[in-house]
Symmetry: C2
Subunit: 334 residues, 2 copies
């Protein structure tokens, strides 16, 4: 019998359609694979192409001064840095100028090394760059919300194959984010507890959907996962602000994220995926009702008219089975 | 300068990134095209394969008794017809059985004729089948919400090439739908008017985003369209219930929809698209604050981490330019 589960964080129902389910290993996508070169002479993100990435905003370098991770303005920015953010209203037409910040984080000089195969220290540098740009963007008073995300693989919407993430600072709070804040605030008002802390406690107590954990972070397939192998990584310490993550926590996040990415890479043959960090701003960092987290969505199924017309998802894998599969992946030596 | 526009119906901001914009005709997708046969011996929806589609629930036939349009249960239904819809709560784990209805509407006996190329009378039969199944599904007291949708083309998520639509009757109201009802109710409470009627009035007054219209319906690219060529078709008569559409209105909807689909087909070389009918239930049909409509989303861009992490969209075409392009498409004789 299929089941309809409520995702309390998104406020949305998910149909767990087990009758349509495939075995976990069937989600490994038999797709054409092109071996990438270590260095591409035409790639703007490969070393030696500094003219293609003007205005480096942050960089981690090795002992010899060569960069390991860097952030640069997005050449095809969706938003422009100059201008005001005054709202305008013409009847139902509400608008403002597209003012904001949009940068790319180049995760490694190596054209062919995805995050799952980065050494732990390198992944930590990437997260350090995330934190640095996140905090820097919020210093611009016109920036109301910052989102960090990554598209890995063509099915996840990437257009450049060199491993990179993106950071966008927007002049508005997305309606979706505002509604989640409202829901979390109501939960806190009604029950006097952080919805996210409660949910993490239940996931740890149940255990069956947990994939990896350490002192600071827990990776699990949520009870109402929106798609097969959908993962959330929650910090154990309550905080609404990713920018306030401590150095020791950053190292722990790198470890859990790397372990999880390796399970996806080796268990499902390098699927396409999106990563998103969902956080409020530093000035909201201390609120008791919201909790930042990282979401990891393998793109093994396609959203179509049903999802578009309802906001709901149909998940063809039981979340407990997705988690068990990932826990049991045999990993090569790290 | 890019612009950020508020979509008052979805409650979400859209970035109109004109700096990234392509010319409208560039959205025509140079994709491989496989000529389809008129009849496919292996297609379950082609005539003569009645054993593959047991339990026809509705049918329109020609004078000689051959079917023109029919609806059948979905063999891979996401929901099951039997069972109760009692809610269960285990802490934060809220769930119910996946009880509901899921049918396929086969739009034509011809394997190779998409809706854009159907004669007007045939498209009217398809909409008639929509209405029939919509009304029938709501007779089941366990059905809380019905969505009608269509996926055209692989990029829009279809898996079977024979032209068909789907109808799903769910045991829950999607959270997204409930939030839109709440927003529309608040608008009505504050301003004493239907948000959708107001919006239609503004679109007609502006005129620049209107693509097609007749006595009962108006097709337009919304002010804050979420993607290039995104279209809404609104009924002029206020009603929250698609099922209450009158016969004359059904004919008018077929005419406007056909005209719009033809503009997409001939102007953009048959792009993939989704169609969704957004409506409340018959018992809510008379409410003053909600208005049913049809949404048509060509899939000419891909949602990625940004959309997933914010709920917002980046539209790389100016809605006014999308509408002008569609209005100016040269159509062959109908």
């Amino acid at each position: 019998m299929p089941e309809v589960r409520l995702n309390q964080v998104t406020g949305e129902w998910v149909i767990i359609a087990t009758e349509r389910a495939r075995r976990p290993e069937e989600f490994a996508q038999a797709r054409e694979r092109k071996a990438l070169p270590r260095f591409s002479p035409t790639c703007p993100f490969c070393p030696g192409h500094d003219e293609a990435v003007p205005g480096v905003t942050f960089e981690v370098a090795d002992g010899a001064g060569a960069w390991l991770v860097r952030s640069v303005p997005n050449k095809y920015s969706a938003l422009m840095p100059d201008g005001d953010t005054d709202r305008h209203d013409l009847g139902l037409k509400t608008f403002l100028s597209g003012v904001g910040r949009h940068e790319v984080i180049i995760e490694t000089p190596a054209h062919d090394v995805p995050p799952a195969l980065l050494p732990l220290g390198m992944l930590q540098h990437v997260l350090d760059a995330y934190r640095h740009r996140f905090v820097a963007f919020y210093k611009d008073p016109r920036v109301e919300h910052v989102v960090i995300f990554k598209n890995h693989g063509e099915a996840a919407g990437t257009s450049l194959e060199h491993p990179h993430s993106q950071v966008v600072g927007m002049p508005v709070v997305p309606g979706q984010v505002r509604r989640r804040i409202e829901d979390a605030l109501r939960y806190y008002g009604d029950l006097g507890a952080c919805l996210y802390c409660r949910l993490l406690g239940e996931e740890l107590a149940d255990g069956v959907r947990v994939v990896a954990e350490n002192a600071s972070f827990v990776a699990f397939v949520p009870y109402a996962a929106l798609s097969p192998f959908h993962l959330w990584i929650f910090p154990r310490r309550h905080s609404a602000d990713f920018g306030a993550i401590r150095d020791s926590e950053l190292a722990d996040l790198a470890a859990v994220l790397r372990d999880t990415l390796r399970r996806l890479h080796f268990g499902l043959d390098d699927p396409a995926y999106n990563v998103v960090i969902r956080s409020l701003s530093p000035e909201e960092g201390a609120v008791k009702y919201f909790h930042w987290y990282l979401s990891l969505v393998p793109r093994v199924s396609k959203a179509a008219g049903f999802e578009l017309g309802t906001g709901m998802f149909i998940n063809t894998a039981l979340p407990e089975a997705s988690a068990a599969f990932l826990r049991n992946v045999t990993l090569p030596e790290a």
